[in-house]
Symmetry: C2
Subunit: 136 residues, 2 copies
DNA sequence: TATATAAGTCTCAAAAAGAGACCAGCACTA
DNA sequence: TAGTGCTGGTCTCTTTTTGAGACTTATATA
C-alpha cells in the first residue's frame, strides 16, 4: 500500500544523496566509500603512500592492528585495486605491499581529509569535551 | 628485552605514519578519522550538506539504516561537533539536524573524496572483478 | 637441538551492528 | 470514546565483525 509510495519517494531522494544515478544497492559512492571507511584502511593507505612496506613492517608500524585484520584489510585494498601485493622468493618468502596508480590517485583526496583531521583535531576534541560536559 | 627496541623503533615510525607528533593512543589523525570512517557517517554528512533534515526524513532518505544506528551516528557526529541538533516544540516535537561550521569545513575535503569515488567507481569495480576472477 | 623469522590461518571470546518490539504524548478519525 | 498514526527515540535479542592468541611450514641461526 503506502510502502510503494515510500519506496518511490525515497528513490528520488536517494538519487540526490548518492549524487549519481542508480538505486541504493549499487550506489557508486557508497560502493567505493564503504571499502575504505573502516578502522584500518586509511591508516594503511597513509603508510603505503610513503613507501612500499612488507607485511611484518606494517605490523610493527601499526602495533595495535591484529594480524588477522592486517591480512584482511590488505586483501580488501588489493581487491579494490588500491594496493599491489608482490611475493619475493626469498627464504622464507617475503611479501611487499605498495600502492597502485589507482591507489595513489585515491590517496590524493584522502590525504586532503587527513590533513584536515590533523589541522582540526583541536576543534573536534574541544567539541567532544563540551558535549560530554553538557551531558552531565 | 627486545620489546623495548621494538617499541622505540615503532614509535619513530608511527610518528611518520601519523604525520604529527604524539604516540599512538592520541594520534590526531586517527582520533578524528575514526569518528567519520564508519558505515553511515559520510552518508549522513552527504545528506546534511545538502540541507538540514529531520530524524524521520533521514530515516526515509537512507532506508537501510536502522533507527538505532541513525540515532547513534547522529549522536556521535553531534559529539564531534559536525552536526547541530535542534528540538522544535511542535506536537509531537520534531528534531532537526544540520551541519555546523566545523561540519561544513570537514565536508570540503570529504566531498573531494566522494567525488573521486563517483568518478572512479568503474575502475574499482573492474579491479574487484579482475581480482575475483583471478582467485578461481 | 632449540629458537627465531617469514606471512599468514584457525579458533574462540568480545564488541558492534541490525531487526524489530515497545514507549509517551498528542491529533485525527470512526 | 476507542482506535490509529505521527513524532523521535529506547530496549532486547540475534547476527556479524573484530580482537587475542595459539598454531603452521620451511629455513636459518645459536
Amino acid at each position: 500500500m503506502d510502502s510503494k509510495v515510500v519506496s518511490l519517494k525515497s528513490k528520488l531522494e536517494i538519487y540526490k544523496a548518492c549524487s549519481g544515478g542508480g538505486n541504493l544497492a549499487d550506489c557508486p559512492v557508497r560502493d567505493v566509500i564503504q571499502g575504505i571507511s573502516n578502522k584500518w584502511s586509511s591508516l594503511l593507505m597513509m603508510a603505503l603512500a610513503e613507501k612500499p612496506y612488507r607485511f611484518g613492517e606494517l605490523r610493527r608500524l601499526v602495533p595495535d592492528i591484529s594480524q588477522r585484520m592486517l591480512t584482511q584489510t590488505l586483501h580488501d585494498l588489493q581487491r579494490d585495486g588500491y594496493v599491489h601485493r608482490e611475493v619475493f622468493p626469498t627464504k622464507p618468502p617475503s611479501v611487499e605491499y605498495s600502492l597502485t596508480d589507482l591507489g595513489r590517485s585515491m590517496f590524493g583526496p584522502l590525504h586532503q581529509l587527513l590533513q584536515w583531521a590533523e589541522l582540526n583535531h583541536g576543534a573536534v576534541r574541544a567539541a567532544r569535551n563540551a558535549f560530554d560536559a553538557a551531558e552531565t
